[in-house]
């Protein structure tokens, strides 16, 4: 069609405007330089972290986020916070997916007013202890992985700037938790939690120690979501990010619990060809995988998928064809990370896909069985994985409440006592997973089934498994350990433990 008077008259009628070359400044100019030149010239790499922070428009009082895929080897959080403190920022609100021992230097930034609020899945070490003693004016808010993803999606947590460490990134922002070229300096596997931040944060800064050629695909984080890239000396300490393979426990208690748990699963009514499962990384729950493997081989049963934090043990089942697919939000060891990189049936998923409580299709809702560890379980089946028996914060909510609520059968495993501490007791210090979502408790001294699941109890008894009441387990523990005195809690609220929808499950008070 020619651009005559009729053309313009028609456009006016349609309320449309005509294309004029160069008129819309939002469009990129055509660039005729070859890709190799563009990679060097037009890319998202900025010369320093300070510059990237400046470009992001970060201001006092804003919310920044991090991921915890580098675990205790993470250098990103401390590096960024030191830089922001030097740049004079104050009252920042931190929303990392989790924190660990290595983040003790945050204590100083809290004291100096650089950080005013923290939302996280967990907290450990010196920082956790200081928070428990009342370090912060505002209580720390704890969310599950699914709860955090939902809070970000619903804008309850609005991330202004996300600082995301990556093991490799190309000049345009395709980032991964592993590297397909160059030296493998650090590797964390899945970037599942970081992907949510990348998607919803106003500004995304990727920090990497390994710039690779374009395109770095398959990618964990898409170039569409990344604003700036900063090259740093190292994103983390590789030896603390990953162990070769999570080792099987040789602790006889753990093995005994694991074997019983495997028997519970086999006879629960949820062990059939095509079932789905998730196991945690704790000693006993990890060993369950090994016992379950034997049962699967013996009965010729295959799992359709395994979910969650993926370990080398699960990878082995995938490679043997006993598990058909892996859905990986977080790779727990090097074997898992390698498999994510090399096996196309080992799929990287984000925290929304994993455990969002609202969105239909969160993978936790397709789980038959989940095996979860616990610090404490009470006689109402409530589980604590966040505060120690001494009342001090020392753990993480993680996906515990998400998977317990999503799975058809949730099995919690723990020894009846740890040293003199009864794990099964009248009341847990902090409720992290509500008892109405917990179905079976397996200890070294017996199995208890939630009275809400009489049919499961019946099946286990029919298989001659030793089922008793949870009150009986608590009584047995207390008879041996004695009744613990009340902890010296103060009046100050130092932590708020929320459920998946943001409602409050429990409060954590300061310990004096």
């Amino acid at each position: 069609m020619t651009r005559d008077q009729d053309f313009y008259a028609a456009l006016t009628h349609l309320s449309k405007t005509a294309y004029v070359p160069g008129e819309n400044k939002r469009l990129y100019d055509k660039d005729i330089s070859p890709l190799k030149n563009r990679m060097a010239r037009e890319n998202k790499i900025v010369e320093s972290l300070e510059k990237a922070v400046e470009l992001s428009g970060l201001r006092n009082g804003m919310t920044i986020s991090f991921h915890h895929h580098f675990r205790d080897g993470d250098h990103i959080v401390n590096m960024v916070m030191d830089t922001l403190a030097r740049m004079g920022f104050r009252d920042l609100r931190l929303a990392p997916s989790s924190l660990s021992d290595v983040h003790a230097p945050l204590i100083q930034h809290i004291k100096n007013g650089v950080i005013s609020h923290i939302e996280t899945s967990g907290c450990r070490g010196a920082l956790a202890k200081a928070v428990s003693q009342g370090l912060m004016d505002e209580p720390m808010v704890f969310r599950s992985h699914g709860g955090r993803a939902a809070a970000i999606e619903e804008d309850e947590i609005h991330i202004d700037v996300a600082f995301l460490g990556a093991s490799s990134c190309d000049p345009f922002g395709n980032a991964n938790g592993y590297s397909r070229e160059g030296e493998e300096k650090s590797m964390c596997g899945s970037l599942g939690y970081a992907r949510v931040d990348a998607q919803y944060a106003d500004n995304v800064i990727v920090l990497t120690d390994n710039i690779v050629g374009y395109p770095n695909v398959p990618f964990g984080i898409s170039q569409r979501l990344v604003d700036y890239i900063v090259c740093v000396d190292d994103v983390g300490d590789a030896s603390k990010i990953m162990t070769g393979a999570t080792r099987f426990s040789t602790n006889p208690h753990d093995l005994m619990i694991a074997e019983t748990t495997s028997n519970v699963i086999v006879h629960s009514g949820y062990f059939y060809d095509g079932f789905s499962l998730q196991t945690g990384s704790g000693g006993a729950s990890l060993a369950v995988t090994r016992f379950l493997r034997e049962a699967m081989l013996e009965k010729n049963i295959h799992a359709s998928f395994a979910l969650g934090g993926i370990t080398g043990a699960m990878v082995k089942l995938l490679e043997e064809g006993l598990v058909r697919r892996l859905l990986d939000v977080q790779s727990f060891d090097l074997d898992a990370a390698q498999s994510l990189k090399n096996n196309r049936f080992h799929q990287q998923i984000d925290a929304n896909y994993y455990a969002n409580p609202y969105r239909r299709g969160a993978a936790v809702n397709q789980l038959d069985v989940v095996v979860l560890s616990a610090l404490e379980v009470d006689t109402s089946f409530n589980v604590n994985v966040l505060t120690g028996s001494d009342g001090v914060i020392r753990g993480a909510v993680g996906g515990h409440p998400d998977t317990a609520a999503g799975a058809a059968l949730s099995v919690v495993v723990c020894p009846l006592m740890r040293g003199r501490m009864p794990s099964v007791r009248e009341r847990v210090n902090t409720i992290v997973t509500p008892g109405d979502t917990v179905d079976v408790l397996v200890t070294d001294q017996g199995i208890a089934v939630n009275p809400k699941r009489p049919e499961v109890k019946e099946r286990l008894e029919k298989a001659h498994l030793k089922v008793t009441s949870i009150e009986e387990l608590a009584y047995r523990a207390e008879r041996i350990t004695g009744k613990p005195d009340l902890l010296p809690f103060g009046d100050k609220i130092v932590g708020v433990c929320t459920y998946r929808d943001g409602s409050v499950l429990d409060l954590i008070r300061n310990i004096t």
């Binding site: 001494d390 040293g419 003199r420 501490m421 613990p484 902890l487």
Partner: protein
């Protein structure tokens, strides 16, 4: 009974307790406890140690205990062993019930 030589029993392993016994001039038993479960079980542990010492018949002693979450049966056994070593007695009535 009095302490003839300083003595100890037990280890610093998790689930165990280290008991060290020294002599003291006045007729008293002093217990100094460090415990990983002090808030929850400190009073009960001290009471258990005192009762085990009393049962043995020791009347002049300072007891330093470093506890890593030991159960009462362990505490009693460690105290009895340390008392024997400290007093130079070697007879233990294996048939007696605690």
């Amino acid at each position: 009974m009095k302490v003839t030589t300083p003595a100890s029993a037990g280890t610093m392993e998790s689930g165990d307790i280290l008991i060290e016994i020294e002599s003291i001039d006045q007729r008293a038993v002093e217990v100094v406890l460090k415990s990983s479960v002090a808030n929850e079980f400190g009073k009960q542990i001290i009471a258990t140690i005192r009762s085990a010492v009393e049962e043995f018949g020791l009347e002049y002693a300072v007891i330093n205990a470093v506890d890593k979450g030991a159960l009462d049966c362990t505490i009693r056994a460690r105290v009895a062993a340390a008392c024997q070593r400290a007093t130079g007695t070697d007879g233990f009535d294996w048939g007696k019930r605690a």
